[in-house]
Symmetry: D2
């Protein structure tokens, strides 16, 4: 088991991080099979193809058209419409699953039962029980089960965690994330399971503890379709509070997270071209304005009372860091940063949120 | 009674809107008394001083220091530490109240009982019963009772209402407002009553109907102090949903409202120097991406599928439009856009939100 | 010869523009050879590989390492360290040259002499005489000679040209472009030939006429190295003026062009995620402020006196539109939008700018 | 004589900087007369009215209407249409001149001859000879002659100077300023004398030495009217270069200055609400990209290779710092930061720029 803090340096092994350096070569290359070549699959195949220590062996997908495009780009990669072919393939050591969420559990379970290490697209499963069974099966067989919480492997998010761990941010007070865009209605999951899962994975990584209760509200504008706008509040044991705002119908794309600590406050904007992480030495000490109906705060708002600092962050592709980490964990039998347990924690929160949503916002204990 | 839609043109009587044009002069100037010269009072005095048809008569405040600063700027304006002096002053026809919220009810009620028209700082009162009594008293005496919902008089908000009334935005689906900044902890009100009241007044003006239920979550980081971060969801009869995010501890100032309709979507950013209102002809018709774990939406996000249009909006000072409207209503015995009933509706929502907050987010019916 | 205005629709043939539509297939595929697989070459190979009507035949480069990476990605593509091999290859109908500028002339001339159609990286050549000889040779042999002015194929730039041609912008008054970033010192060209060439190609496409004189200033901070900061003014027959600001040492990346017409003004910001083109209905009619040392303009600045409009622009990859256009011109024997003559005009301006720079800014007639 | 570096702390005496602190009271208050109550005059009167140690005595203006508005706001201030009345007024110790540029010289000279200290609106005069005569007269009579280079008193500009003086920015390489907006055509000065004068005053303060030559280009779109778009390059003895882009016809307001040093680079954006000054630890060391037509710089552009830091800057009103400084210099007989000599240097550059403009951009030695 490699604790996160120690494994962080290892994660930086990536062509993006250290162009010159040759990564440690395991005895044998890790043969990779990718299930699903729809939206995310091609990114997985491309990155595993570039990952030192890995070898892209095969891709399975139900669509002949998609398999043809695999062949065109990667003549050496086997393609099959039959998932079982990959399970039976001795060259395949690990399987990455990038299929619709409803199929995550059966495909991942079959892979584990076939003795393959598994990387599963987020969310890990459709509910906590399925996720728990996958975790148990992976442990029983001592196989790597990793969930694709991509943002945890972003340089920005990793930098924020370093800032928090250094203590300079101080005691965390709030985590407030907005992830909205003009999206497309999903069929098998709602906007919480589709978008909020990203923020929950970031929150789990940065805060390092689970909420004690969640309250969620939202709406489904198309009858019979999943909820397409939702607001999630997470309550923690102390006065820490987290809030996530997700929306498939926004006119603009927003990817902004505010993280407030006693000493510093952080703004993480994933859409900023270079200054994605901003650290504010701001305080509320300037309270010498005259009293009034609105209080003096309006005299202060918009004025930082301290410096702002935008630390350099790695702009390398997160997925390449992640595929490298997965391959390292498989070849070194280490526990991934985002293992099944992390995936399970996030799914449990989503489950509770779904229940709270049905109750109109009443909090659900975890 | 002047219905809002008709009274809108009247509102544009303002030195900022039509520099050349002389406003209709009533028989006699409306004598104004301002109670409270703290944070907001000076703005009221300055604007009433510039308002055609009005005359600044007196200012009352408990602080001799503040009264001295009134004298220094406006030698002709009477000053007194005794509020009752203004009630007894025959020159004073109307009183503007800019004192702490807890004193709104007693001061406003005394003014009405003294036969004065009243403009009250937002929120109208500390609770619905007080607000209702003020509304009843004003009606009984046929006096103007107006609440200072300043944003309703902003050119941007008025322009958005015109867009919605024109039908081009289509059926409203959501109203999502964020109002955060590095504020100062208030003592007599929490962050909902301090900041969300602005968004609720904008929502009431733009949507034109009240929610059927509200759910609120939040936290008070300083024990014994008011809630300083809060999230409010408003449910309406149809699938319209509204959400308000207010925070006194943010590192940056954000004033952004997303308004979603079936045809168009609007982004209102009060901090944009000139393009405060952006209208997006965006849709979700481009759903031809390949299916996948995240669905094809990521191929679309960030891509507008239509034009964006930023209509010209008046950048004149809202308060000058508002003081003019108040004086017009007093001299023409008209009903203000933001009369006591509007103020009462907003206070009822805040009351319900406070109750929901105590219940950890369980919805409260209105 | 296809005049630009008519050929514009043809240009939109691109998988990005019309995913569903099958492009017109010529009798035979156009065999492509790419010379140089450094920075830009890989983009050419990737796009020609996706271009209907084209077939990637071979890549030449002096570096075995780079040729190996070609093989890895495109096993079917021939590779050779000898440029002459491509000249002799009967399968190759057209050659794209993406080598250092100093080699553009010899390689392009050899290709033309070998009867190949040619696409040359910008700038077309190191000086006007070389460029003119290439143009003459291509005409003599009736071969397509196209210069890679990529920005002309950007949806944004094409949209701006449509706006100008529609007449709504009015008579053009100025073209003011800033293209700065933290670049790397080039060895064979200076910042004008490296960066300003982009703006000059955009200017040539949008304005449609050449300047009568140019004046340039700049500095070389590293002795013996090329000028790394430069400012170029182009004078036209009427009062139209153009200015280009290029800098390799800026701390931030700026890609902004202001285009002023009598009726409307345009801001083109290539770094804006979606609203790359903004059209302002602004005027200077609001001149009713009091006279003073700075005049009343400060009362107006920052206030748009009209609407702003951001038309939808295609966000497809410009290079794919361009490679398609090249292949179409080769197979239909048409004249490219950015043919040798255009490349020559731009090189002539750069030549004059270089001379003016040596004179400390004195204008040079064209 | 107080050298700038020492006088900087003194400048921070301002109600905005140190609310609690009482400023040093001179024996007698400095009586102030303001000539011209058009655009800028009201700001001067308001600030002198708030300046400890000063007393607003009188305002002169040719317009009775404007004098009436003075009386309305400041009943205690004398008003007169006759400038000579202020010259003869023994209560007036210093005169601030905010009239059209063409009258700066005669009015300032008369004031000096009457023994009054003088603050003159920028630019100091219409040409260098006039400016020189004013400087000589002030020296002969040992009177304070200060030019209103407001930006020098902005917290942002003062902070940038501190950064440069600290050495952390390193040797300065370039100063590149853009100051454009939708302005109003001036009658008595062109865009260089109207807008570039601001940038030249900032440049003079930050760089601390004068250019050896200047080259300017521009255009007058309205026949017979002043140049309304201009581009100015300043050459210095070493390889330092400065460039200023001014435009009265821009659709948007831009106020951005890039300052490049060997160690750090600064972006000063006067329109940023809070982060007006950004310091980049960026370098060009990352030159390991593959060679190519455009070179590898495109791989780096947009990527900061170091941290960015936005120091806290005072957001107090610059004019209040400036009026305080003027009053301090008068009462302490000190030399202002922006004395006549500074004003003269700036006017000399503008003179040379005007000459270069007439020559189509040929450089003019200073």
């Amino acid at each position: 088991m490699v604790p996160p803090s120690e494994s962080i340096p290892a994660l930086t092994i990536s062509p993006f991080e250290r162009p010159g350096e040759a990564p440690p070569r395991p005895e044998r290359l890790v043969g990779i099979g990718v299930a699903g070549y729809g939206y995310w699959g091609p990114n997985l195949v491309r990155n595993f193809g570039m990952t030192p220590g890995a070898r892209m062996v095969a891709v399975s997908d139900l669509s002949p058209h998609r398999l043809a495009s695999v062949k065109a780009l990667y003549p050496a990669v086997k393609t099959t419409p039959v998932y079982a072919d990959m399970l039976a393939d001795p060259e395949i050591v690990a399987i990455a699953i990038a299929t619709p969420v409803s199929s995550h559990y059966p495909l991942a379970m079959q892979a584990l039962e076939a003795g393959k290490h598994v990387l599963v697209e987020k969310p890990l499963a459709l509910n906590g029980d399925e996720a728990a069974r996958l975790v148990a099966e992976a442990e029983r067989r001592d196989l790597v089960l990793m969930v694709d919480h991509t943002f945890v492997y972003h340089g920005s998010v990793r930098r924020i965690r370093e800032l928090i761990e250094s203590g300079q941010v101080g005691k965390l007070r709030y985590f407030d994330s907005t992830r909205v865009n003009l999206g497309l209605f999903q069929r098998d999951v709602d906007v919480l399971w589709d978008l909020a899962v990203h923020d929950l994975s970031i929150m789990d990584y940065l805060i390092g503890k689970s909420p004690v209760a969640v309250a969620a509200t939202g709406v489904a504008h198309v009858p019979g379709q999943p909820v397409n706008i939702a607001y999630l509040t997470c309550f923690f044991e102390d006065s820490l509070i987290a809030h996530i705002n997700v929306n498939w119908l926004a006119p603009v794309k927003i990817r902004r997270t505010l993280i407030g600590g006693d000493r510093q406050r952080i703004v993480y904007d994933a859409l900023e071209p270079s200054e994605k992480v901003k650290v504010y030495d701001s305080g509320i000490t300037l309270g010498d304005g005259p009293a009034g109906p609105d209080g003096p705060y309006d005299r202060l708002v918009g004025y930082r009372t301290g410096d702002m600092w935008a630390p350099k962050v790695s702009l390398g592709e997160a997925l390449s860091v992640e595929t490298q980490h997965f391959v390292d964990c498989v070849s070194q039998n280490a526990t991934p940063l985002t293992d099944g347990k992390v995936g399970l924690r996030v799914v449990r929160i989503l489950e509770a949120a779904t229940l709270s949503l049905k109750q109109g916002g009443c909090p659900v204990q975890l």
